[in-house]
Assembly symmetry: C2
DNA sequence: AGGGATATAATACGAACGTATGAAGGGGGT
DNA sequence: ACCCCCTTCATACGTTCGTATTATATCCCT
């Protein structure tokens, strides 16, 4: 039997990787309790016992899924934060990167939300991801406050104001389409929405009113 | 048997109301699939068959729970929108009311999030609630744009920027406490956080820079 | 006071769940 | 060719699930 440090490696025999892929889709769609090991193995083309064999248990597979999905998020954001320009300009890039990554990995925010709204312990990697992302934004804000381009206020709270917008907007996508008539699957709508958020964030932070950008 | 228009009336025999109360708590905590009818009836002090009898099925009870929880939200918000003062002042009040209601009814945002991230159809009442709340905020923004106090931009998108903050911050409460060290259970922290959001929103909307409020 | 609707109770049923078990494949290394 | 280890497979076990069924209380109305 195997299922030891499977939260790291993920090439495996193909079966394990297929299980993670299938499980990511199903957990995202139906939640942990709503997804059966039979559904996962069927979708992965694997045997019913494959999850027990490779990951020890359903929970073990879930942990592996979370770890794999959360990993790249932090890197992408800190890359945007290390760019060129004034703090305000870089924050703008961070917001765009935030949206970009969430739009390309729509599973991630849904999974994170399920963890936050659920009752089981929030996985370590999720907490770290939140902490890092808030930290990145807050540190940019502090820089802007130091050079006078960003107004006063607790940088961490302001970072929450910023981060909440991409997260909620991507999580609520389905509800916004069906209930409010805003369809983020339409590229033009999405672009205008992102730019609206970017402008809102910039205006919410700036110490002085700004001419056109 | 009964279970007809039970989404409306809710006084009932006491048993039905107790079922709704117990179900609200358990659905919020563990989700729909994570909550068994046995757990609900046990907590409500009712017989196993009570859910079938009063609501027809587990899903019927869930619908009743959603309807009861979502109802008061819209009213509270539109009350704040009808207050005194400039559009910016009233928007400020709306944000405070938003937070106030979510803090007092912490089940509501978690339930709504579960619906948005889940796969089953989003209940009609939830979609209506989203629509109304966005509409209220957007209409205040339009007023402010008309009198020149609020800058240009799509009012509905700006409304999303505003609404996303109270919602996400209350839903993510547990994660923020455990992962970022921001504890909204502490009244002082909460107050400072809300005021930070209010200022952020005001700055994000205002057409002209403003002196102290 | 008695009868008919309304509510609660105890139990049964079939299906689906997560996991355990043991047997059957299937390639390298010697 | 052989063995051995890793993987896959088929199937069984015990639980728990949502709902149905049937019997017993409880209450209002004339």
């Amino acid at each position: 039997m195997n299922h030891s440090a499977h939260t790291q490696e993920l090439a495996h025999s193909g079966t394990a990787a297929a299980l993670v892929r299938a499980a990511l889709a199903l957990f995202t769609e139906h939640g942990y309790d709503g997804t059966s090991v039979r559904a996962i193995t069927r979708r992965a083309g694997a045997n019913l016992g494959a999850i027990t064999y490779h990951f020890g248990s359903k929970q073990g597979l879930y942990d592996a899924v979370i770890a794999q999905a959360s990993g790249p998020f932090r890197e992408q954001l800190s890359a945007a934060a290390d760019g060129e320009g004034s703090p305000l300009d870089r924050l703008q890039q961070v917001v765009r990167a935030f949206f970009g990554h969430l739009y390309e990995n729509p599973d991630l925010p849904r999974l994170m939300m399920q963890q936050l709204t659920g009752s089981r312990p929030i996985p370590e990697v999720t907490l770290r991801t939140m902490q890092t992302n808030i930290g990145i934004i807050a540190s940019l804000i502090r820089q802007g406050q130091a050079d006078g381009s960003i107004r006063d206020g607790d940088p961490r709270f302001m970072a929450l104001s910023i981060g909440s917008q991409p997260i909620w907007l991507t999580v609520a996508q389905r509800g916004l389409r069906e209930g409010v008539g805003i369809d983020q699957d339409d590229p033009e709508t999405r672009a205008r929405l992102v730019e609206s958020i970017v402008r809102f964030v910039r205006a919410g932070l700036a110490a002085h009113p700004e001419r056109a950008e």
